[in-house]
Structure formats: C-alpha cells, structure tokens
C-alpha cells in the first residue's frame, strides 16, 4: 500500500514517456492499408507520420505500356468510389488533346453519372464516419440507400464499382431505357431518407461532442497543403472545379458551392451532407433534358495523341483529381502522372490532429474520407 502511495504522489516515477505506436496497416479505422507512426504522450497525439505504399500498384508506370482507351480501366481502380470522375478526367484529357467535341448527350450522361457517383461516395463516407465513431447503425442505413445507385450503375454501365464507362469520345453504352425512371425514383426516395441521416447522426449529442472544434485546419494551411474537395471547402477554401473550371454539363446547371468557415471536423461533415443535397438538385436539373443524339463519337481504332503535354482536372468526391499526360506522338503515353486528392489531404492530417486525443484522430481521419488506392496508386 505504501508503495502505491509513493508511486501516486512521487511525480518522478509517474512521469510519462513519449512513445511511438503503429496505427495500421491493418487497422479498421484507416480504411485500408495505411500505416501511421503516431507519437503519443499518454493519449495525446504529438506527431503523425503516415507511411504509404503498402498497396502501391504502379498504375502510372503501367499506363506507359498501354493505349489511351486501356488506361481508363486502371483509373477505376485508383479511387474506386469516384471511378466515373477518374475515367472522365482521362477521357476529357484525350479529347482535349485531339480537339474532339463530344455530343451534348454524352456531356449530360457524364455529369449525371458523376453526381450519382459523388452521392454514392458520400453515402459510404457517411456510413463509415458513423461507424468510426461507434455508431454502427449508420452503416446499414447508408449502404441500403447506396445500393440503389449501384443498381443504376450496374444496369447502365455493367458494373457497380469499376464501371469503365467513359471512353475517349463518349461513353461505353447508351443509357439503359430504365435509367431515367430509376434515377428519378432514387431522387424522390433519397430526398425522404436524407432527414433520417440527420436524425440518426448529425443531431446526436455524442457525435457533436466528438466533432465540434476538433481537428482545426486553417484556411492558410488548407491552401498550403493543397487540401481540396469537401475537406478544403470546410476551411473556407473555395476550390470546387465544377464552379471554377466547369467541364461537361456543369456550366448548364445551377448549384451552390458549399463553403464553411468553421474549419473543424463537424464543418467537414456538414459540407458533405449539404453537397448531397446539391448533387440531387444537379441530377434533377439534367435528368429530364438529356438531349437525343449519339452516345459516342467515332474515334480512330488506334488513338495517337499529338506530341506535347496535356493536363485535365476534375472534381471527384474527394477533391481535385488531375491527369497529366506527356505524349511523344505514339499510341502509348510517354509519361502519365495522376494528381490524386487523397494524397494531399492525408498529409494535412498531422497538422489537424496534433494535440488531440487518439480517439479524435480516428474522427479526423474519417472526415478526410481517404481511399488508400487513391493515395498509393
């Protein structure tokens, strides 16, 4: 007894050491094979060092050996939740290089697909966000609604995640006859279900306590780290490429860029929740007005890009995705570089989570919405 007393009151012996803990690569809340070396003092996070590359697949190198239409099936596999947008970036880049104008119908279809993919991605993010904070129920509700979007994809594109739907010059198939009806059904259905999301999680007192004021990322830091997408917009960084550099049918639709200046985890959460409403309204504006026409322009069977460098960026569900192609006039690119949003967003984590508890680290990481193949690629 006396010994315990001595330990308790003798601060020298109670002094905590700093120690290093590996979080991952097999940790449920890292959402993939991400390893972080976390320096802790007790439960307090002092420093985070992400170690990436566990599932590096060399996609950029592989692209150098294959032709442009073939690249698209690889970009599916980087950020698999934004497969449509990734594919579109490559397709747009090739189209711009060849100065091909795609039919209006293609632009409409692409935009609707992008927004559906964004919704599906945000739904999954919402499920996992709840689950990371201990609310397992959200997982079932989110996946239930996401299923409807995946069914739409499956019916029109032939696959649920790795859709491979955009091609240079158009899309793979015309939309399925049921497509418009299904999408409209989904919009009416999901409009009713979104308030349920708020009741389940947004208002929840435990959730709010764990997110409000946690993980502050200032505007200056967001810009310095290149944090784009909803995570950047929650710090007041106006970076929505759909607004600033509109592509496809985005110039034709009215929507708001959601900005928040609170910079914390809750802000990042709410930006995404509001973006779902915006996506629904974008789809609603387009779905009834899909113009008649071809779903693809006829491209040469061997696509060769002129010599030079080409860059195209699009807004995926996670932020700015860029494709940089260097061509030497052959049918394979000389070099391809992808700018993936997850990579830049991940490295802002140290800045956000420093000084918080390790449980908050999980919450902060959730709101960054990381997809590991997007980082490792």
């Amino acid at each position: 007894m006396s010994e315990i007393k001595e330990i308790m009151f003798n601060s020298d012996r109670l002094a905590t050491d700093e120690y290093l803990v590996n979080m991952g690569p097999q940790h449920p809340s890292t959402h993939g094979v991400l390893r972080m070396l976390v320096k802790l003092e007790g439960e307090k996070v002092l420093n985070i060092q992400p170690h990436i590359g566990y599932i590096h697949s060399g996609i950029e190198k592989m692209c150098e050996a294959i032709s442009y239409p073939q690249i698209i099936h690889l970009t599916d596999r980087m950020d698999y939740l934004s497969a449509h947008m990734n594919n579109e970036a490559v397709a747009l880049c090739v189209e711009n290089a060849l100065q091909v104008e795609v039919p209006e119908r293609v632009k409409y279809i692409r935009t609707i697909m992008d927004e559906l993919a964004r919704l599906a991605s945000h739904q999954l993010w919402w499920c996992v966000m709840g689950m990371d904070l201990g609310a397992l129920t959200t997982f079932f509700y989110g996946l239930r609604d996401r299923e409807m979007i995946l069914d739409i994809f499956e019916e029109t594109c032939g696959a649920r995640l790795t859709v491979n739907y955009n091609l240079p010059g158009g899309v793979m198939f015309d939309i399925h006859p049921n497509f418009q009806k299904r999408v409209k059904d989904f919009i009416t259905y999901f409009r009713k279900k979104l308030p349920e999301y708020d009741q389940l999680l947004t208002g929840n007192v435990i959730f709010r306590e764990r997110t409000e004021g946690i993980g502050h990322l200032s505007l200056a830091d967001a810009i310095a780290y290149g944090v784009t997408g909803p995570s950047g917009r929650a710090s007041g960084f106006s970076n929505d490429l759909r607004k600033h550099q509109p592509y496809s049918a985005y110039p034709l639709v009215k929507f708001n860029e959601i900005l928040d200046h609170r910079c914390d985890t809750l802000a990042r959460y709410e930006v995404r929740m509001k973006e779902m409403h915006e996506s629904l309204s974008i789809i609603e504006q387009l779905i009834d007005n899909i113009p008649e026409g071809d779903y693809a322009v006829k491209m040469k069977s061997v696509i060769k890009l002129p010599e030079g460098e080409f860059y195209q960026r699009v807004e995926t569900a996670r932020g700015e995705f860029g494709v940089y192609i260097v061509s030497d006039g052959k049918k394979n690119p000389y070099r391809v570089k992808f700018r993936s949003p997850g990579f830049s967003n991940l490295f802002a984590l140290n800045n956000m989570a420093k000084g918080h508890k390790i449980a908050d680290l999980v919450a902060i990481m959730s709101t960054l919405d990381l997809v590991i193949p997007d980082i490792d690629r």
């Binding site: 239409p69 698209i72 099936h73 129920t137 299923e147 019916e155 198939f173 349920e196 009741q199």
Partner: protein
C-alpha cells in the same frame, strides 16, 4: 447555480437527440418487411443479374454450334491485361485455297478485369459478356478457358479476315 441548470438542461437535450435517433431505428425494428437484405445463397434460383452485367467473357454460339469468330486477333490486341490468346490454324478450303481460322480462343478469367474492351472491339460480334459471377474454383488452372466450344465451326455469313 446557472451553470448547474445549463448542465441539467444539456443532459436532457442530449438524451432527446438520442431518442430521435432511436425513433428512426425503432421504426424499422417494428416494420421488418421494409428490410432490404437479400438472402443470397438461398435465392440463387431466382437471382437475375442485369443484362449488361459483366461477369465473364463468353463467345456466342448458335444452335448449330457455330460461332462468328474469324480469328482476327483484334480482341487480343485490345485487351489491356493480355487475358486473351488467339491460336489459329490454317486449313484447306473446298476450292483448294489456304485459309486461317481460329483453333483456340483462350481466355484467362483470372487475369481479366472485365473492362468490356474486347467485346467492344470485336468486328464480328463474336464475344459477349456473360452474367455468371460465381467464379470460385479449386485450382487456378480452371480459370483458363477455351471460348470456342469443342467441335464448333465458324458461321456461314461471317466476313473473312
């Protein structure tokens, strides 16, 4: 005193938000027919995939066991993963000319990413995407298939290479 009242109020407010959440889950608890879970292995018989669903590459054969592949090899070139190998052979036609036709259209399902490029590229429409998705086998070699069925011949009206 004031902060104490605020504390008590916040407890009840917090509890109320929990109750709102439980209302949603409770609603589904008492209306189980709204559940959407598919009983997968049991509903195998009735499970219909969408017609465009990409499960595997197949070669279309008609009722006379004829396909329309002329062995041109375009699908092989278009495949990003090298999942297709075309082995052709030359035969003598009835009028004494030499002609190359398909011997074996080899398809490695294990290397295929189901990208649909081969189906799209085939000039004679010989390939299609099958809906079967249960591909588990005991041995990897079983994933290599010969797509032109045994004894099949090339259909009459297919244009030559």
């Amino acid at each position: 005193m004031k902060s104490f009242i605020e504390y008590i109020v916040s407890i009840f407010k917090g509890l109320w938000t929990l109750l709102i959440g439980m209302k949603v889950t409770g609603k589904y608890f008492f209306t189980p027919w709204k559940n959407v879970t598919q009983q997968y292995p049991e509903n195998r018989e009735k499970l219909v995939m969408f017609e465009r669903f990409r499960g595997e590459v197949i070669m279309l054969h008609n009722e006379n066991n004829e396909h329309s592949c002329n062995g041109c090899g375009i699908c092989e070139i278009n495949c990003p993963n090298g999942s297709i190998e075309i082995i052709s052979k030359s035969i003598l036609t009835a009028d004494g000319k030499k002609k190359r036709i398909i011997d074996q259209h080899i398809y490695h399902l294990g290397m295929c990413t189901l990208c649909n490029l081969c189906v799209k590229a085939c000039p004679s429409g010989a390939l299609a995407m099958g809906q079967n998705f249960e591909h588990a086998v005991w041995d990897r070699s079983l994933l290599t298939k010969v797509l032109n069925q045994e004894g099949s011949t090339i259909a009459e009206n297919v244009k030559e290479e």
